[in-house]
Symmetry: D2
Subunit: 416 residues, 4 copies
């Protein structure tokens, strides 16, 4: 394929086969049909189980009804890959966007994009398509992933191309094309959501006034802290080389661990976040995130790092985490700079092993204990008691003197 | 004074008058006496009210009993200055050390040092002294402050110099010198604390095993979340140019605002932190912090910034905050680089005005609403609904294409 | 004006008056005519003297011939404003893009954009236009400037819109419209240039193979070092608060200083750079830059900072300079984050005063001496000789011990 | 060995065997004797060939004469290890300290420290010693290396301990102890130097006034540019995965490549630097560095990166390089954070292969051409000519619009 096509606009005639990220819901069902009609091409559907908690088999049936060939219907359980190769590496970096957001939606997009491209190569498709809107970050995340992994793929983003811009028109189109519209889909949804094993996000409509509190009915992954158990619960998480490997002493796979933490987080009302954030596409948006297990895991990872990471490594990681989070949020997972940061982060995790004890209570999660065979914490050195020479306090005088030297020279110039 | 004296060791003969940071407690009372005996010099005591919640007049009486001249006893209420010129500027930067610690002890030290130096100049003292131990960060913070503001001052750090290294010897010395030792001071304190209007820290002894949960009796500034009210409480904080100016619509001074937030935080069990941190002097330590009002304020400030700060400013601030926090923690408040960061931060706060609404409940604090005359959030632009041209979705295609260009060139080289 | 128009595409009907950045050359003359024909609107020309070294009055005559009203022809000498408010602030930051490029083109664009917007407001224009191509950075720099200063302005970028995409068609259009085409413009120019008081850049065509050396005839601002004088020349530059104020002891205005340094740089063959750089729009390009005076000035500024800036300030500046340069290169001069960085940088320059001595010789420029009333360099402290107590070498032992402590704890864990 | 000894002061009684970094010169010969007398211990000498250009066998003879056992005399040629494992990794990071210094001295210290510790383990020594003064950075670099690699080693720093603080006393001691003092060592040396394959540094005495130009006789590694050949010389360097592997097409080992570049740099007067820098120990110092081959190599490496590194990787590297350089300068080579940065840097170098062509002329070195099988530069994409669709200029409009969006929202709030 020649270089000259690098910027041929997607949507051109000539598309023969397109792989669609397909949930089976109303919107992507409309897209499926619209692609078939508009591009007169074969559509391959790809439905991923990322732990969003929905039945996937209905998606197969609907795709079949829409005329997709059985061998062109892909339904993959990606939960373990998602947690092991995306969530955990990001958690090793302690990444949070704008100080608070644990990146639950952002981190799922590259995996979907990657799998779509794999399928495209497998079935010989020349295009991919997704159902993200033209105002959000997800279109960027999907498409940067596509282009990074398959530079010459064509990308179809229906929401930026079609004229089904109102709910009414969308439903009309559905009805004209024998797409079943359930009653609850007929009216406007009061907000839009995205869900996976790490989190559920909600935004739009009832959430659009940032002065208004998020209504109770928006929450779906956690009980209201006020309804959570009156007794706290203590748990332990074991880490090996920076990754969680066991809950309460019982070994579990990455996805199982996160799922179990989600159950605990749900029960205790942990991980709700009301945020006004800055999108990569330039505007502010207000969203609500529920990250029950991820919130617990994030804190636990920090807890084990406190004991096992040297200060130099820890502080460098804190600096890199800002940039890492921005890259993930903006959709640059498959970029050399994210991979460079990952190399640095992973290098630091060699000794990040041990056990963290946490207390869960009505929306609160806190580390209350941590231990490790690799602990760098030394009671001998730190104790207020006589330490029998483990640390010579007189060294502090010289340490301070030399740290002060430049300030003294400065003070002499400027303050006397 | 000549340059040649810049590194003459403190503790030399020749000291005539020393200003001591004096709390009136057992330790600094022993230091007072020890200074008089060891250096045969006049001691000036300085006792600051930083909101630690103790009576200060007993300190005057004790100083008098120790032979300090009345005109050499300084007792200053620094609460407003503390919050206005130290806590608030730091909060404008959203500084947290190692991701979690709100720097409650660190931020008080430079103010004490500054006032000590002012007094030293006033009374013509040639030295200053403090009661911080030789293993901690506070000695560094005090002394870097002293040296920055008075490059030629002599510094006496008794804990690094004397031989009263065990509790027994300290109490012996006290008894030999008519220093009253109350019963509770006779035995070993189970942990050591520092307190001011922003926080109380506790560390040492019973807290030294980082696997053991902090015992209940260590907490002094907050009720146990489990004992907090069963009903949530909603409050509002008003900000002007980055600083809090009113609580629930009622204007209050910086120190008053923080004090009221402390009361609210105490009541609802907010702001407890169990941390293993990396000290500047090179070892890890485990501490417990209670920052009730500060925790609420910090989140509220982030909340109003979400609405009023542009993304570019916000992300730059996030990067600078890491460095800012490290500088404050390490004692470099009076350094050109902290001041440069402050200049950048303060420049960004011009429009950070508005109101934040928060929900307090059993240890939780969360922003649930924010509004501002300077809001950059635009429902028109962000809405999922037809926005009548406020944002052209087709622009996103070009935006993605050019952001992807380098990844595509890279993908062509490396992935095909 | 209403929010709904924020993204109405430029180029719509309805444009009444447009301010064009007009050089008087063939390309912008064609644009002038094309705008009149395509938009049927009034064109206002703006020609800036930024020290590019061309006569500007011919531009007035040509604009008149094209039917522009005399009161709509703006020719402004912006040289002093350019150096004082754009070049010098950037030089205070020591900004270099990708380690080497002194940003000579980037820094001129925001000033042109700002003046265009001022004129647009003055004459009541509803649009602005520029002659930058659709592949380069300059379109971004111009338009980000326009939008930042006049969020609702319409922008016309002819090179992205018209069909005059080949040289032949452009010349045809010119001939059809009585635009004079001089002989040397008839053929293809062997490369394209941009010039102002800070630099001349050349790129395209003969420069497009990055393996081929830049041909001699491309250079226009400097003699070949091989043809420069055989004797070195020494000069001094005086700085006050971070800005150059005198050459060889003679006070001069910012633009005069830079012009004189340009003459010196030209004579000695200083400031040539052959670079492959990464454009903001995603591709690599190869260019040649000549920055004779700027290269000298940049080094001189570093020289005076070496003496007068504290280490903390200097190192923070080095970090900020990377980001600052990227912002200027990408066109974000009028952004809050660039302004925040400027606030930090400017804060640091208060004491950056003194004199730097430089040696110029056949392409080389080097600082050979610097002095300042604000020097932080102390021979007493640094000397290898006995310093009579100015520095106590024993302090170094404690300094090293505490800096080593964490490495020792780490070594014990990992290396024994 | 027990933790309690971690801060037992070096210099204690009880030292049995010490490994001394021994050059064979007057100073370390005095130290050798002083160690034997003061500590009554066995001294092991270690002399490294790092390319400093001195005969090492005389050091063996002198050590023998001083009573060192033959099996305790170590003379190692470390040139290849030095360049391959220290210089090249640092060059991969493009590290420069304070914008200009190529870290020639800093990078040699960790290797010496490492080899000393290896020998100490081999011979069962309990201490190490070096001849660095108490005011400089080298003591820190040596000792941080020692402590990192052997946390319980004892360190003897004679210049911080003894009373031979004047030249006269040192020579007296030498004469009393049958240490030969050559005539030129009898008087004061006019400056002090350090040399290795990467550079020679000179500082002290005649260089201490930063306003005075460095006298000609101080330079030893380069001819004066004015005396360099009148004809330029062109060379090529081949890189593989970020490291130089051939000069002018001829493969050579790391040390050989650097040695050959040194010859070229010497001949053409390349790599002189007059610098006032900020030492880690707190004061400013003025030095002169000659880095002939390293200066060429550094630029060449940047040249090949320009072609083969993606922008994201390149800009991240530029940020990391600042921190990397500071760590190397301050002596933290053997630290987790330097190793993390190295992991990130090395990850980026996988495709940094190709050929750089440079022009050397009278002090100037410039990249004039670069080519690579991994080039990311695409003439098709960048050309000003019609590119047959390789890049769609209309994409730029959307790119700019979305980048401008936040600035427009801001402009509406603040500028209208």
């Amino acid at each position: 394929m020649s270089e000259s096509s690098i910027n041929r606009p997607a949507g051109d005639a000539g598309i023969k086969k397109v792989v669609l990220a397909y949930s089976g819901g109303l919107d992507t069902s409309v897209i499926l049909k619209w692609l078939q009609q508009t591009y007169n091409c074969e559509v391959v559907t790809f439905t991923a189980d990322l732990g969003q908690g929905e039945e996937l088999e209905p998606a197969r049936r609907k795709a079949e009804q829409a005329g997709v060939k059985p061998e062109h219907i892909f339904i993959d359980d990606l939960r373990e890959e998602f947690v092991k190769d995306y969530v955990f590496p990001m958690m090793r970096a302690n990444a949070t966007y704008e100080g608070l957001y644990l990146l639950g939606t952002s981190i799922a997009r590259p995996l979907i994009a990657k799998r779509q491209i794999e399928i495209a190569k497998m079935v010989g498709a020349d295009a991919v398509s997704h159902g993200a809107t033209g105002k959000g970050n997800d279109q960027v995340r999907f498409e940067l992933g596509y282009y990074a992994l398959a530079p010459d793929i064509k990308v179809i983003a229906p929401w930026r191309e079609w004229d089904l811009t109102s709910r009414t028109r969308l439903i009309e189109f559905a009805e004209q094309n024998q797409i079943m519209v359930t009653k609850d889909k007929r009216g406007e949804s009061p907000f839009s959501t995205d869900a996976n094993l790490l989190h559920t996000s909600s935004e739009g409509k009832v959430l659009e006034d940032p002065w208004e509190e998020v209504p109770d009915y928006v929450y779906s992954r956690t009980v209201n802290p006020e309804d959570a158990p009156d007794a706290p619960e203590y748990i332990t998480i074991d880490f090996e080389r920076g990754d969680g490997v066991a809950l309460n002493g019982e070994a579990c796979s990455p996805a199982t661990l996160l799922a179990k933490l989600n159950e605990l987080g749900r029960k205790h009302g942990i991980g709700r976040l009301d945020l006004v954030e800055n999108r990569f596409v330039g505007m502010k948006s207000r969203g609500m995130y529920e990250t029950p297990g991820g919130t617990i895991y994030h804190l636990a990872h920090r807890g084990i790092e406190q004991l096992t990471l040297d200060r130099g490594a820890a502080h460098l990681k804190d600096e890199l985490a800002i940039k890492y989070a921005e890259l993930v949020y903006n959709g640059f997972w498959f970029s050399p700079e994210r991979e460079m940061l990952q190399a640095a982060v992973d290098y630091s995790q060699e000794k990040v092993s041990g056990t963290v004890r946490l207390k869960l209570y009505k929306g609160n999660v806190g580390v209350v204990g941590r231990k490790s065979p690799n602990s760098l914490y030394s009671e001998k050195v730190v104790t207020f008691e006589d330490d029998q020479g483990a640390y010579d306090q007189r060294d502090a005088a010289g340490f301070i003197k030399l740290n002060a030297l430049r300030l003294r020279l400065l003070g002499r110039r400027d303050r006397i």
